[in-house]
């Protein structure tokens, strides 16, 4: 009982620490990556290669004056960034980070560092909580009492509802092939068969596109389109409340990448993993998962600095007339392929 509690607490601390660290690293990657793509140097003064820049930025944000607009709805204004960070943090408890059925700490099996391994609706839990993230953005936009932030919040709610549909339909294809809602089973299935992105290329494409829209990243960052809305939903936020929104955006990127990898790119599995067992397998699987996530995080940065922003009507047309039919097509394909025993 106590050993189990200790191991669960340890998992939570380890995961939260890793994610918060990766947020800091991502900020550095984003700025240096942008500079690299635009043929400049980027922040390279603080520490080796500018690696300590995120720490300096965090200190700056901490000591900035925290301005609350006079006409803001104070309660909701304070609540909004908290909702964003909360939702971004709690989605990680169902993601399998590695192998580890035969790895034990204090006599408790680690079970792939999943905090809630017995939750049999893993994927649904993830989709449900991430759909709550929109409340942070919408409330932040509304409670600031500023027309630009209100427009940003409204845009984001419309965008999130539209793209959630295609995202869920794309996930449905994976769940049909696996026959289970647990992410552990999804990974195990991909360990025994092809990784899902090969038989379900369309579903994968839809999911990745929708993930960009769900995380409000370019080319779909309409909620914070600078040249139309100043900064969108967080115009009126300053100091750590602004930083909270920024952090939750990066945490959502990490979640989205972890989900893309888990659902379509084999999770922690890697070729030739049959040769390992126990701790070596566990550590290698963690490394494999980390490398795959790092690739998709870089893809987020890469796309952001390569593609221009969509216009709002284009965004809606792509979501409803492009992605949704494609997601349904993927479902039809998976059903036919399953009946014909192709996959």
């Amino acid at each position: 009982m106590w050993a189990e509690l200790a191991v669960t607490a340890g998992k939570l601390v380890a995961i939260a620490a890793t994610i918060l660290t990766s947020v800091a690293v991502m900020e550095w990657v984003e700025r240096r990556g942008a500079a690299f793509i635009q043929d400049r140097l980027g922040p390279n003064r603080v520490g080796p290669l500018g690696l300590f820049q995120p720490i300096v930025d965090a200190v700056k944000l901490l000591f900035k004056e925290d301005v609350t607009p006079e006409a803001a709805n104070k309660w909701l204004y304070y609540l909004a960034p908290m909702i964003s960070v909360f939702v971004a943090l709690v989605t990680f408890i169902v993601i399998p980070f590695g192998a580890g059925d035969d790895v034990t700490v204090l006599g408790v099996p680690l079970r792939g560092l999943v905090v809630a391994p017995d939750l049999n609706v893993g994927v649904l839990y993830l989709l449900a909580l991430s759909s709550l993230g929109v409340f942070g953005i919408v409330l932040g936009g509304w409670s600031s009492n500023n027309k630009y932030s209100l427009l940003g919040g409204l845009r984001s709610s419309a965008q999130l509802i539209s793209y959630e549909l295609s995202m869920t339909l794309a996930v449905l294809g994976v769940l049909m092939a696996t026959g289970s809602l647990r992410l552990t089973d999804v990974v195990a299935y991909q360990g025994a068969h092809l990784w899902n992105f090969m038989p379900q290329a369309i579903g994968c494409l839809v999911f990745v596109t929708a993930a960009f829209a769900e995380t409000n990243r370019l080319p779909f960052d309409l909620p914070e389109a600078e040249n139309e809305l100043v900064a969108g939903y967080h115009v009126e936020y300053s100091s750590m409340k602004f930083a909270a929104f920024l952090m939750s955006e990066y945490m959502n990127m990490v979640t989205a990448s972890a989900l893309i990898v888990t659902l379509f790119f084999g999770g922690w599995t890697f070729p030739g993993m049959g040769a390992f067992t126990g701790w070596p397998l566990f550590l290698l699987s963690l490394a494999s998962f980390a490398v795959k996530i790092a690739f998709f995080l870089w893809l987020f940065v890469w796309v952001r600095w390569s593609l221009p922003r969509f216009r709002y009507d284009q965004l809606m047309r792509l979501g409803w007339k492009g992605l949704l039919p494609l997601a349904v097509l993927n479902l039809v394909w998976v059903s036919v392929a399953m009946v014909m025993k192709w996959i």
Binding site: N73, L76, L119, N120, V121, L124, Y125, L127, A128, L129, S131, L132, V134, F135, V138, L139, W142, L150, G153, L154, S157, A158, L160, I161, E164, L181
Partner: protein
């Protein structure tokens, strides 16, 4: 442990439900409704119906109430003054419906066997799926027709303006 969580969630659900109908700010109404749904989902999960809990949050809290919030903000609905302009027959009708619903609820709770079929085994999606396309197929299809009708109706309303 489970009973503490139940009483806590039930109490929060009741309070936020009361706030949802009584507060003057429409945005606060919607938000307290979100909290109510969340607490109801917690109680579903306690009953072993994890699928229902996730669906409750995904569909009601995550999609439908976001739509509510969208409309409230878009119309920029003003804070409601105390509702003094209700007509007498509206009050009477409201009271009647409330009484009927309350009587039904009391009868249901007092019934010797709580009529919730499949609780305990219905936690996973497979059981629910089999129930939906098996014994409850007719009701399931009927609901899809109702939803389709609503969708066609919305399209007709929108197209008429153009």
């Amino acid at each position: 442990m489970a009973s503490i969580v139940f009483y806590l969630a039930a109490a929060v659900a009741l309070v936020s439900g009361a706030v949802a109908v009584s507060h003057r700010n429409p945005v606060v109404n919607v938000l307290s409704l979100v909290i109510t749904f969340f607490c109801v989902a917690v109680n579903y999960a306690l009953l072993g119906a994890e699928f229902l809990a996730a669906a409750q949050i995904l569909i009601y809290a995550g999609a439908i109430l976001v739509l509510f919030l969208f409309v409230v903000m878009l119309l920029n609905a003003p804070e409601v003054k105390a509702a003094g302009d209700a007509r007498p027959f509206q009050r009477a009708a409201g009271l009647l419906v409330a009484c009927v619903l309350a009587a039904g609820l009391v009868l249901l709770v007092l019934a010797p066997r709580f009529p919730v079929p499949g609780v305990g085994a219905a936690g996973d999606a497979k059981t629910i799926g089999r129930l939906l396309v098996g014994p409850h197929l007719f009701a399931f299809e009927l609901i899809t027709v109702v939803l389709l009708t609503a969708m066609v109706g919305a399209l007709v309303l929108v197209k008429r303006k153009h």
